[in-house]
Every structure is written in structure tokens, then in C-alpha cells.
Symmetry: C2
Subunit: 352 residues, 2 copies
DNA sequence: GTGAAAGCGCTAACAA
DNA sequence: TTGTTAGCGCTTTCAC
């Protein structure tokens, strides 16, 4: 690794001149010719700045810590991390990923990140629980990804679950479904609360009542499958809004056993957490993909804007769309999800 | 952040003494009493070493770069990264994750990692292509994860695809299946080559021939489903080895349409890439989970052992098992996958 | 046993 | 306009 010192020697100038030039602070301070010579020399010698040495002096590392709690192994994390990486990469930052699945690991990883001098933190916890940010993070620049505290102390971003439920149900209504079931999760989930509320509101707004017999919350495997079969038998729904892939699968399996074809006899809208169904079922299944990538991307941009003390640019907003093909629309329809920034709500710009 | 200097002042000693003590190099150099006083002071003041400053001096950053090429968004990456993180965390290292999906991004991220002075690299590319390590990485400590070059220049780890195919097929044979189909991918995949070879070898070894009519390579969606339906109709297999979740789903869907029950009328073994089926189908589907976590874990340990110039410990080997419940075995059976270390092949120790 | 001092590569105040 | 100097926090040699 060539250093500034070596460049200074080769170019016959002092390190400070080299530093000024290579950091672009030379306007009106260094003779343009000299500056060019320095730049050339640096180029020729393949100079790469030692960011650690710089950090020591400036107290800025251009490193961001990404803490994930109980999400790293889920299929969601990959998208969020990649979104954050892509955003940070173009901003000249580096991402340090850790996971704090246990309370103890969490605190120790936070300490580690602090030792490495990260400029700020991204924090992501499974959004199906109420969460609290560790107090050890409270005084640092921090943005929550796919999570939010009740206190709204920190900027955060998460899908608009209510709207997902509302839009999905509306699509089913517009597709002509007369009996729309909700196939959800029997365990308490924050996401479900919002989606269910959206489902009910959409029914209301279209002059329909909520029928609790059409709400079918299940767990996994055999019992879940049998519960869905019972739903088919007793309620004969012709529209289904499914909490996730697993629930959508129970509907598919049951439909197949009953000789019903999805896309002809029944309509299904489901949130596609695992992406396997997009590959398998599309365009039969109407999938809603949660914008994990976009959330990571936005959160990283937001965090850096805080660190650098400047406003967020328009371009820092991700484009969030989900494909929703349905019975009556053979070609895919773009539907936008809403990202919520605590303190102020706005939609993401749509491309299509 | 309290510094060594502050501790030295508070304890009335010099920084060098503090450094020696806090790094455990004080035996026979510093008076034990003094050493204790220093340790206490550091403790009391909540001292955390500044790893960047240390790095500047020692040329060791205890940072590892994890480069993923076209894998970050797949469900696999999460497991590998978490495995690497867990291993590194206990070794006192930090993971910097980047992704190099395009050639250009790759080189620029590698340069970035070098600027940050990482001690070594983990490199992961989608294993369904022949890969070549960028020459910019050649002179650094490097371990390949879920990937391998033809040249065997670097340590690498990947699942033993042959053995997966062999074991899966053998299980189906032992479960009493007389006609075992292979439902694979119509696109060329390195993994498939090995699994198919294992499938054929297992048939051979049990005195059965390979019947190409039972090999059904499909793509996605409707066409794939119809191809599997045709397979059911014309060949009536009673055992299925599926390349991945999507292929397993086609079998399930078709079985349901034909009134056949998995686990009673037919047996299915499938590789579970997305983890959704483990939640949904188990224990009907016999799932093989690829040991991504374990590969990440092993690779990180291997890399650090190279960096620190010491042998790999027994404990650095991951425990790799996959659950394979089947028709005749209601309770799960542990089956071990094999990890391949280039240059020398050995099995991972099994717990169960 | 302990401390003074040099220096890792860089930035930034200050001199010239 | 350029160079000198100090120092970020730490390690390490070398005197004492």
C-alpha cells in the first residue's frame, strides 16, 4: 500500500499538500499544476487511502453497524442488508453486520461495534413483537428497519400493514369475490393486527360486514391444513387473503384436493415472505412482496443524512412496488406499498 | 471513550505500562500490584480499546470481508453470513459484508475492503456456475463458501451434492419405493449434476437401472406443473427426489389433484432451500436442508486459522445434520451432509 | 519493573 | 501558495 508520504517524496512536495489535493481541498490553496502532478503521481502509484488512519484523526469511520435481532436467518434479512449495502456503497460507507439474538450477544456486539467506531446504527428486529431499543444505543445516530418503538424516539421504516390488508381485500372484492376469507396466524403478530384491520375496513367500505367465521387463524403443518379444509367445507369462501406463503400453501393444497382451481374458481392474494411462491405459483397466486430491500435502502440513506447533517434527497427514496395479478387481470398490476417514516407519513414515488 | 492515556493518568503510571497490562503482556514485567491497580482503574472507567488505533500500529484490523456474488438476496446468504458472524464473533473478529453482483461493483467493493484493511476474505458465489476468483484477491487470505474453483488454489467448502442425491435416493429405496423419479431443474446447475449422479449411483448400487423417463427436469410455473402431471400420468412413480422446494411443490400439487397422499401413497424427499416447506409440510415432506450456516461457520474459522497461522481446531468443525422423516420412520432421522475441504476430504462430526 | 519516545498514516492548525 | 508541526490512540523498542 502506497502512502501519502511516498507520494509526497515522489512528487517532491509535502504530505500536507498531497492530503489537500487528494481530498479536493486544494482550490485556491495549491497551484493547479502542482495539484495535477500530485494527482498523477498518486494515480500512477496506485494510491489507496488508509481509511483507518484517517478515522483516527477525524473521528469518522464511514462504517455503519447493522444489528439484526432474530431476523438474520429469516429470508427477510438478506434483502434489507443488501438494500442498506447498496445505498451505503454509493455513499462511501461500509456495513458491519452483527446479530444480537440473545440479550447478552446483543450488548456485546454493540460494544464491539462501538470499539470499531461506527458512525451510526441500523437496527432491525422481528416486527411481530413490540420492541425497545437498547439504552446503549440511545445516544448514537440510529434508524430502525422493519421495526418501530412505541415512543417514536428514532426514525424508522416499516411496511404499512393496514394498507396491505386493505389493498389486498379490495382487489379481491373488485375481482368479484363474494366471500373473502382471512387466513392468518394463530400466534400474536403485530403485522397481523394491521392487516386484519385493513381487511375489515375494506369490507366495511364496500358495504360488507365482517364475518368472524371467515377469519381462520392457524399454526403449522397438519392441524393448519385441516383447519383450512374445514374453512372450505363450512364457509365455501371464493376469495382468500393469506398472511404468508405457508398459509397460502394450505389454501392451494385444499383447493387442489377439492378440485378447485385457483384463478378460476377461487382467488388468492398472499404475502410472499419466502419468494418461493413467486417462482412456483405466479401468476396464479397474487403475491405481495414486502419491500425489505427498499426499507434497508431507505434506512441507510436516512441514517447517513443524519450523520452528515443534511436533508434526505428525493433520490434516496426507494421505488416500492409489488406485483398483484388477479383473476380479472391476466397481466401484472403494479401496486405500491407505503413506507412509514415516523413523525411524517408519505408515499414512495412509483415508477410504473 | 476513555483512553489509555486517561487511565495512565488516573493510575499514576505510564501508557506503556497500561498497554502491557491490558494486553496481558505484563507477566514478569509489571509489578502484580500495580497491574491490578491498572486493571481496576480501566474497569472502573469503562475502558474500551480503540481497535482502529491499534490496527494502525499492528497492521491487523480483526475485520473480515464477506463478498457475496449474486447470492445476497437469495435465502441462502443469510445462513452463511450468520454462521460466519457467529464464528468470528467468538474469535474477536468483525464481519464487513459487501456484494459484488456486477463485475464492476465487485472490483470496487474489493478495493473498499482493502482500504479498510481487512485481514482476509470470505467469498461466496452462486454454486451453480463455474467460478473464478478475481485476481485482485489472489494474494490475500481467502476461503470460498459454498463455491469452489477448478484450480483448488484456495480452501473452500460446499455441500457434497453427490451424497445428497445418493442418500436421498437410498432413503426412498429403503422406504420401499419401486419407481423413483428425479424432479430437477431444466437449467444447467452444478448442484444438479452431482445430485443426479448420486441418484443414479444409488439406483445402480441397489440393482436398479436408471430410467430416463423418470427424470423430469422442469422450469417454473404452469409449464412445470403440467410436466409433473404428465410424469404422474405416464410413469406413476411412487417416490420423488426433488431438486428444491419449487419442484417439491409441483409434486405436492399434482398429488393432491390426483387424490394421492404424500406419506401414504407416495414418498417425497426434497432439498429445502427456502425453509417454507419445513414449516408447512413437515413431517410429510422429507426435507434436506443445505448447511449454509455451517459452511459460513467453518469457512470463517478456517480463514482465521490461516490468518493467525495456527491449525484448525476440532471445535471449529460445524455439526451438520438434516432432518429426514419418511414413510416408514415417523420420527425424524438425522442424516449428515458432507463438507468438502479442497485438498482433503473429511466428514463433519455428527452429534446425534 | 517502569517510563520515555518513536511512529503507524493521516488531517489540520499554524508558520512561512 | 506551500511546508512544518502536532497529534488522533495505540504498540513497542530501548533506556533507565
Amino acid at each position: 500500500m502506497t502512502t501519502m508520504k511516498e507520494i509526497a517524496q515522489a512528487a517532491g512536495v509535502s504530505v500536507s499538500s498531497v492530503s489537500l489535493v487528494l481530498n479536493g481541498r486544494d482550490s485556491g490553496r495549491i497551484n493547479p499544476q502542482l495539484a495535477n502532478r500530485i494527482r498523477e503521481t498518486a494515480e500512477r502509484m496506485g494510491y489507496q487511502p488508509n481509511v483507518l488512519a484517517r478515522s483516527l484523526r477525524t473521528n469518522r469511520t464511514y462504517m455503519i453497524g447493522f444489528i439484526s435481532v432474530e431476523v438474520a436467518t429469516t429470508p427477510y434479512a438478506g434483502g434489507m442488508i443488501q438494500g442498506a449495502q447498496d445505498a451505503l456503497s454509493s455513499l462511501g460507507y461500509m456495513l458491519l453486520t452483527v446479530n444480537g439474538d440473545t440479550e447478552q450477544a446483543l450488548e456485546s456486539e454493540i460494544r464491539a461495534l462501538k470499539r470499531y467506531g461506527v458512525d451510526g446504527f441500523l437496527y432491525s428486529a422481528m416486527s411481530n413483537r413490540v420492541m425497545t431499543v437498547p439504552k446503549s444505543l440511545a445516544k448514537f445516530p440510529l434508524v430502525l428497519v422493519d421495526a418501530a418503538e412505541e415512543t417514536n424516539r428514532f426514525p424508522s421504516i416499516e411496511p404499512d400493514e393496514f394498507r396491505i390488508g386493505y389493498d389486498a381485500t379490495t382487489r379481491l372484492i373488485e375481482a368479484g369475490c363474494s366471500r373473502i376469507a382471512y387466513v392468518g396466524c394463530a400466534e400474536p403478530m403485530v403485522a397481523q393486527t394491521g392487516r386484519l384491520a385493513g381487511y375489515r375496513q375494506a369490507l366495511m367500505d364496500h358495504g360488507r360486514g365482517f364475518d368472524e367465521r371467515l377469519q381462520c387463524d392457524v399454526l403449522n403443518n397438519g392441524p393448519a391444513l385441516r383447519a383450512v379444509e374445514a374453512l372450505f367445507d363450512t364457509e365455501q369462501p371464493n376469495g382468500f387473503f393469506c398472511f404468508n406463503d405457508a398459509r397460502a400453501w394450505y389454501v392451494y393444497e385444499t383447493a387442489a384436493r377439492h378440485g378447485l382451481a385457483v384463478g378460476r374458481d377461487i382467488s388468492v392474494v398472499g404475502v410472499d415472505n419466502h419468494r418461493v411462491f413467486a417462482e412456483t405459483l405466479e401468476p396464479q397466486l397474487t403475491t405481495i412482496e414486502l419491500p425489505h430491500y427498499e426499507m434497508g435502502y431507505w434506512a441507510a440513506n436516512k441514517l447517513v443524512s443524519m450523520i452528515e447533517n443534511r436533508p434526505l434527497n428525493e433520490g434516496d427514496w426507494p421505488h416500492t412496488t409489488a406485483v398483484m395479478p388477479l383473476l380479472d387481470t391476466p397481466s401484472p398490476v403494479k401496486v405500491h406499498c407505503t413506507l412509514i417514516e415516523k413523525g411524517s407519513v408519505r408515499d414512495t414515488p412509483t415508477t410504473a
